[in-house]
């Protein structure tokens, strides 16, 4: 089979397939970022846009894709899959769709690699752009933010569709025949959104006086390879990350030749090393990432995830059930994205993790230091100050574990969001270590509101409601009824006059 293919053709074909796979992943993930994608047309070929399409390269995504491919190419029996799933703030997750790039054995020996295959791959990418906006996950991804986030996972090998539930639908994006096999691109998407319907993002009421321990065990062990569909523009920190991957900077300058009727071609592939970061041809308005490195991900329409001005990523993340992430907030350390369940939707500034953890103990309290100092009792909200210093020593919020990647979900969940507080009323995601109701300081009583509440949380049942007493009293009531009725009838005029005064 390969012997019919010239070495140059084989080399070109491998290159086309490799970059097609990378661009496919980019298109899919970018379509699930939750925002509209705009790229510019350019009449002059720049030599760096594969398949003559302006598709940005998000470095993280390219890195993940290359890691999944591990030097191999999609081929017969070796499919590349991009799995898109949804994760709610309560920790529920659900696979939404799986995009599969596969190859079967049907070969088209006569097809011209550098011309026809290339153009058909370009067409297939355009189809992918259109289809990614049509599947149900697109609308969900546009609304992600406060209640749920969209994650992606890239894997190589056998296609796994079991997580899509029953009755999943498949849509074929397209096929391209090549001399070594036929490339097919398809999407299997879930139709049964049962998880969504039962939860419907309803907000449970605030639970007071209970220490909520959402996560008995790490819920994200199976999410080790999930990544948020979020993006941070390559900054100076991140540029070095991918320097080692040199072929990511290959550039395609393909010339075509017309020599009708036979379409002889001459293709020249030149390799350049562009500047660090994405080769971005567009002006900033088209690429919000580049323009706003701190806020790549546009929050969803429901108010979205609030910005994190100086709060750590962990705090914000955990509020919505996300584990503190590493890559988005920690590029200098560069924990590989797969090692942490990075599901942070909002991307705080890269220096956010250098800031200290803050502890929210009540409404409007925002201390930027790690130490929660004991305030004087004369100051307002003095009740929020911890009673003893030993609380601080053991408090994981004040002394966070050093490595954020494997930080426990419980600790993460103890941090609160910056903006989801209203006076005195803990939000559903607000987890309290110690019950301190707002405004509860009371000089008169020896106990405060919290203690009072705990003590009288389970009052004894009323005597009149107990069974023995009620039975007895009921019998007595029945017996006395005729007498009472006789009295009322005698005084009926008085009652009527009373009623008249009311009207």
């Amino acid at each position: 089979m390969d012997s019919d293919l010239s070495p140059q053709d084989k080399k070109d074909l491998d290159k086309f397939i490799k970059f097609f796979a990378l661009k496919t992943v980019q298109v899919i993930v970018q379509a699930r970022l939750g925002e509209k994608i705009n790229t510019c047309s350019s009449s002059s070929p720049t030599g760096s846009d594969w398949f003559n399409l302006a598709i940005k390269d998000i470095p993280e995504v390219t890195h993940e894709a290359k890691k999944a491919l591990a030097g191999q190419l999609p081929g017969i029996g070796r499919s590349m899959c991009v799995e898109i799933s949804l994760k709610t703030s309560e920790g529920d997750s659900m696979e939404l769709e799986t995009w599969c790039l596969e190859m079967n054995e049907k070969c088209d020996k006569d097809i011209k690699v550098s011309y026809t295959v290339y153009n058909r791959l370009s067409l297939l990418l355009k189809s992918l752009l259109a289809i990614t906006r049509v599947t149900p996950a697109y609308k969900l991804s546009r609304k992600q933010g406060h209640d749920y986030v969209i994650l992606y996972r890239i894997y190589f090998g056998d296609v796994q569709l079991t997580g899509l539930g029953e009755g999943f639908q498949t849509v074929r994006v397209g096929i391209v025949g090549t001399p070594i096999g036929t490339i097919t691109l398809s999407c299997a998407y879930r139709t049964n959104l049962a998880l969504m319907s039962s939860r419907q993002f309803e907000r449970t009421g605030p639970i007071m006086g209970i220490i909520i321990d959402h996560y008995v065990e790490r819920p994200f062990t199976n999410m080790a390879h999930m990544h948020p569909c979020s993006y941070r523009a390559p900054g100076e920190d991140e540029g070095g990350t991918y320097a080692g991957i040199e072929d990511s900077q290959e550039v395609c300058t393909t010339s075509f030749s017309t020599s009708p009727p036979s379409q002889l071609y001459s293709s020249r592939l030149s390799y350049q090393t562009p500047a660090l970061g994405t080769v971005d041809l567009c002006h900033p308005t088209a690429c919000t990432a580049a323009a706003h490195p701190h806020q790549m991900v546009v929050p969803g329409k429901e108010g979205g995830v609030p910005q994190v001005p100086a709060q750590p990523t962990h705090g914000t993340a955990a509020e919505h059930g996300r584990i503190p992430s590493c890559p988005t907030g920690q590029s200098p350390q560069l924990a590989p994205p797969t090692s942490c369940s990075s599901e942070v939707k909002t991307v705080s500034p890269s220096d956010a993790l250098e800031t200290t953890f803050t502890r929210k103990v009540g409404a409007f309290v925002n201390k930027a230091t790690t130490q929660v100092t004991t305030t004087s009792l004369d100051l307002p909200f003095a009740a929020f100050a911890p009673r003893a210093y030993d609380l601080q020593e053991n408090d994981p919020m004040v002394h966070p574990p050093p490595s954020p990647a494997p930080s426990s979900p419980l600790q993460g969940s103890l941090h609160s969001n910056t903006s989801s507080h209203s006076g005195g009323q803990p939000q559903d995601d607000f987890v309290m270590v110690d019950f301190k109701p707002a405004f509860s300081k009371d000089d008169l009583l020896p106990m405060d509101l919290g203690t009072f509440y705990k003590e009288f949380q389970n009052p004894p049942q009323l005597a009149s409601l107990s069974i023995d007493v009620s039975v007895q009293s009921m019998a007595e009531d029945l017996d006395s009824l005729p007498e009472k009725l006789a009295i009322y009838e005698k005084n009926i005029d008085e009652f009527d006059a009373f009623v008249d005064t009311l009207q």
Binding site: S43, V173, S255
Partner: protein, 218 residues
């Protein structure tokens, strides 16, 4: 060579006509546009880059993807607006069809004009419905969005059959295959026409040919 013909049908509310037509026409043109050709010596050419743009519809739960070319968008919008006006001015039932035809020009000898040979025609049949209340409109928003999604899948399916496409032309022939008037992208030569149907299903007025892009006929 036979002309490939595809028919798509949609039922929309009056205010959805524009966006539904734009969605389908732009989807087709996305696949039938390339970057600008730059011919060099020795018969080689290079191709510019095509950007894409997501556009949210206001009256339909749908996001369309179109080529990043304001010029092309203006042309299509103008054609759709004319179609919608004609639809509005026609009888009350509001049925019509807008056609996007891709063609090649074949030079003929004088005094005959160049021949336009269509190689692919997309016909979009529109049925305009009237809705009584806001609830129905909301349902219609979602339903039409889903319907457009199905149509996009149909379009993609047809295009990915990789049936006949004109051969890539030499520099002298490029004007017979591609529309080179736009400065940022290069669609295949196309024209948009429409016809309005009356309630009996026949053509009320003669088919109005609007040559959006073409050289002059005699």
């Amino acid at each position: 060579m036979n002309c490939r013909s595809e028919v798509l049908e949609v039922s929309v509310e009056g205010r959805q006509v524009d966006e539904a037509m734009l969605a389908l026409l732009h989807t087709i043109l996305l696949h039938r546009s390339t970057g600008k050709f730059h011919y060099k010596k020795e018969g080689t050419y290079s191709i510019g880059t095509v950007g894409t743009q997501d556009v949210d519809c206001d009256f339909i739960d749908f996001t369309l993807v179109r080529v990043s070319s304001d010029e092309l968008d203006r042309v299509i919008r103008k054609a759709v607006a004319e179609f919608k006006d004609a639809l509005g001015n026609s009888g009350s039932d509001g049925m019509g069809q807008i056609s996007l035809e891709f063609y090649q020009k074949k030079k003929s000898r004088w005094p005959f004009s160049d021949e336009c040979i269509p190689w692919e025609v997309w016909s979009i049949k529109v049925n305009v419905v009237n809705l009584a209340n806001e609830q129905e409109r909301q349902i219609c928003r979602e339903k039409v969005g889903e319907k457009l999604g199905e149509k996009v899948i149909n379009i993609v399916e047809v295009i990915n059959r990789h049936e006949y496409l004109p051969k890539m032309p030499t520099q002298s022939e490029v004007y017979n295959v591609f529309d080179t008037s736009l400065k940022d992208v290069q669609p295949y030569l196309y024209k948009i026409t429409y016809q309005i149907t009356d309630s009996l299903g026949t053509s009320v007025s003669t088919t109005m040919r609007r040559l959006i892009k073409d050289t002059l006929a005699l």
